[in-house]
Point group: C2
Chain length 352, copies 2
C-alpha cells in the first residue's frame, strides 16, 4: 500500500483503470473483457455490449506495454529515414501516418542524418523486438542488413529503392518511365541539347532516371553528349553548380532536367543568376513534385512521384505482412506522371 502510494504520487496520469476494474464492474471475468477488447468472436453480444459500456464509463484505456508483453507484439512500427530537410520525406511520412492512424499502430521515427553507419545499427536494434516491422525510406546501403532481416524473417518494406537483386517487399515509382516521358516531352518541344543532373548514384532511383533520359534520347536519335550529364547528390547546391557548369559549356543546353525538385530549384537559381530566364532561355524540369514545386515562380514542371501514396501503400503492405506473414509480397511500382507547369517551353531559335 505504502509502496503503491509513493509511486502513485509520481505517476503523472490518474488513469489507473485496468482491465480488472472493468471486469469487476461489468461482472465478468478478466478474460472476457480481454476478448471484447480484441474483438474475439467468442463472446455473447449482450456481454460485449455491457463490457463496452463499462469500458467507456470508466474511461478505460488499454496499457500498451502490458499488451505487448503478453501478446508478443508491440503495435509499433519503426520508420527509418535519411533526413527531414526536404519536403520529399515529409510527404511519404504523411502517407504512412494516415494509414497508421486507421490501424492504431504507432510510429517510431529514426533519422540517420545521412550517416550510412547508423542505418544498419538502427535496423539491428529495432529488429531486436522494439518494433513489429520496419519501413525503410530511401535506404542507402540495404545490402548490409536486408540479408539479416530476411533470414530472421523480420517484416519490412523498402520505400523508393530498387535493384538489390534479392526480391523483397518494396514500393517504388516508375522512375525510368517518368524520366523517359519528361525527356521526350522536352524533345518534342524542340529541345535538342538537354542537360541532365543526376541524383546520388548509389540509389537505384537515380540510376533509373538517368537511364530513362538516355533511352528517350536514343529513341529520338539524339546522340548522347557526356558533357551534358552532371553528377549530383540530390542537394540544392548540386543543382546550382551543375547548371552553372552546363551553362558554361561552349554549346550549352536549352533545357536542364534535374533528377529531383530540390536540385531543380538550384538550377533555376543558377539560370537566373546569369541573367537568363526560365523558361524563355532555359527550360527546367524536376522530379518528385514536392509541395514547394507548385509554390516557386515560375512553377516547376516536374515528374510527379506519388509520394504520399507510396507511404500509404508501403504501410498497407507492411501491415499485411504483419497479419499474414506467409503471403509473399514483392515489389510494387506506382506510376509517375509528368506535370507540366511554367518552367518549360519551346527553345528559342538561336540560330535564327
Amino acid at each position: 500500500m505504502s509502496k503503491k502510494g509513493v509511486s502513485a504520487s509520481k505517476q503523472a496520469t490518474t488513469s489507473k483503470v485496468t482491465i480488472v476494474d472493468v471486469a469487476e464492474k461489468a461482472g465478468v471475468s478478466l478474460g472476457t473483457v480481454s476478448r471484447v477488447i480484441n474483438n474475439d468472436i467468442h463472446v455473447a453480444t449482450e456481454t460485449r455490449e455491457r463490457v463496452l459500456a463499462v469500458t467507456k464509463e470508466l474511461g478505460y484505456v488499454a496499457n500498451r506495454q502490458a499488451r505487448s508483453l503478453a501478446g508478443g507484439k508491440t503495435n509499433t512500427i519503426g520508420v527509418i529515414v535519411r533526413d527531414l530537410g526536404t519536403g520529399y520525406i515529409g510527404e511519404i511520412i504523411r502517407g504512412i501516418d494516415s494509414e497508421l492512424n486507421l490501424s492504431g499502430v504507432d510510429l517510431v521515427l529514426y533519422t540517420t542524418h545521412r550517416m550510412v553507419s547508423k542505418e544498419a545499427s538502427y535496423v539491428a536494434s529495432l529488429a531486436q523486438g522494439m518494433v513489429d516491422g520496419l519501413l525503410l525510406v530511401l535506404p542507402r546501403s540495404p545490402v548490409d542488413y536486408i540479408g539479416t532481416l530476411m533470414e530472421h524473417n523480420f517484416p519490412f518494406v523498402l520505400i523508393d529503392h530498387q535493384g538489390t537483386g534479392t526480391d523483397c517487399p518494396a514500393v517504388g515509382a516508375t522512375n525510368w518511365q517518368g524520366a523517359y516521358n519528361a525527356t521526350e516531352y522536352l524533345i518534342k518541344m524542340g529541345h535538342q541539347r538537354i542537360g541532365f543532373i543526376t541524383g546520388s548514384m548509389d540509389l537505384g532511383c537515380a540510376e533509373d532516371r538517368l537511364q530513362g533520359y538516355r533511352s528517350a534520347l536514343r529513341t529520338h536519335h539524339i546522340t548522347e553528349d557526356a558533357e551534358l550529364i552532371y553528377e549530383g547528390d540530390f542537394l540544392q547546391t548540386d543543382g546550382y553548380t551543375g547548371a552553372s557548369a552546363l551553362l558554361d559549356l561552349p554549346n550549352p543546353p536549352t533545357a536542364i532536367f534535374a533528377s529531383n525538385d530540390v536540385m531543380a530549384m538550384g538550377v533555376m537559381d543558377a539560370v537566373r543568376n546569369r541573367g537568363l530566364r526560365v523558361p524563355n532561355d532555359i527550360s527546367v524540369i524536376g522530379f518528385d513534385n514536392i509541395p514547394q514545386s507548385a509554390m516557386v515562380f515560375p512553377t516547376l514542371t516536374t515528374v510527379q512521384q506519388p509520394l504520399e501514396q507510396m507511404g500509404r501503400v508501403a504501410t498497407q503492405m507492411l501491415l499485411g505482412i504483419l497479419k499474414t506473414p506467409e503471403k509473399e509480397s514483392g515489389r510494387i511500382e506506382l506510376p509517375t506522371e509528368l506535370l507540366v507547369r511554367n518552367s518549360t517551353s519551346a527553345p528559342i531559335d538561336r540560330a535564327g
Copy 2:
C-alpha cells in the same frame, strides 16, 4: 511446449535471451542481473563484471515492454509537430534526436498536418501512459490542453511558443530581438521603406517578430506604414503574394523582411518575376536560417534561430523533468543572430 513452439516460429527475431538466461549462466539471481543492468550501486564489482560479460556473450538485449510494465515508465517521449514540409521542423528534430540518442530514450512522432483538432487528441491519448513526456513543437492551440497536462502533472516542454500566460517549461528564441536587429540593420543601410510579411498571427513568435520590426522603426523615427505590413501564414506562397502586393504599391518598399525563410524564398521569386533583382533593387531578409537558405542564390540574409539547439535544450529540459519532477523549470530563450549574406544591400538612390 507446443504452444511456445508455434509462437516461436512466428517470432521474427531469434533473440530469446532473457534476464533469466543471463542470471543462470552467470550463476546469480535474476534480481542481481537487473541491478547490474540498471547500474544499481549495491552490487559487488566482481559480480557486476561477470554479469556484464555474460550479457555480452549471450547478446542480451533488455525487453522494453517488460521494463516499462514493471518499472512504470516507457522510456519513450512523444514529439508532436505540425508538419514536416519545411526544413524548420527537421532541424529541431535533429537536435531532439541527438540528445535522445545519448540517453537511450525513444521518440514517437505525431504529425498533426496542421490540423488543430488533432493536437489535443494526440496529447490526450499520449498522456494516457504511452509516453513519459511530451515535446510540443510550435503548438497551435496549447491552451486547450496545457491546463490538463499541468493538472495531471504530466511532463512536457513547449518548443518555440510563447505567451500562454501560464508559466510552463518552454524553450524559444529571442524573436523580438532578432526582428529588431534585422530591421535596424536594414535601416542603418539606408532603407526607409521596409515591407514586412508576418507569420501565422496565432503563434506567439510571429507576433514577437512583428513587434521587433515595429520597435526598430520607432527607435529610428520611421513612421510605421500599415500598407507595408502584409499578413502571411508562414507558407512560401504568402511570401510571393505578399511581396507582389507590396511591390504594387505606389510607393513600394526597398527592402522586404519576411517572418520566415520559406516566405523569403517566395519574396525572392516575386521580385525576380517582375524583372527586379535581389538585392540590387530589393533587399530580402528572412528568419530561421533553414538549411536551404544557404543554398539558394543569392544566399539569404536571415535571422538565425538556433533550431537544432532548441531541440536539444528542450529535450534536456524534458529529460530533467522526468528525472526530478519537483524541480521547477521555466522558459528558456535562446539567442537569435543576424546572418548577413547576399540578399541584402544598400538601397539604390531612386531620387538621384
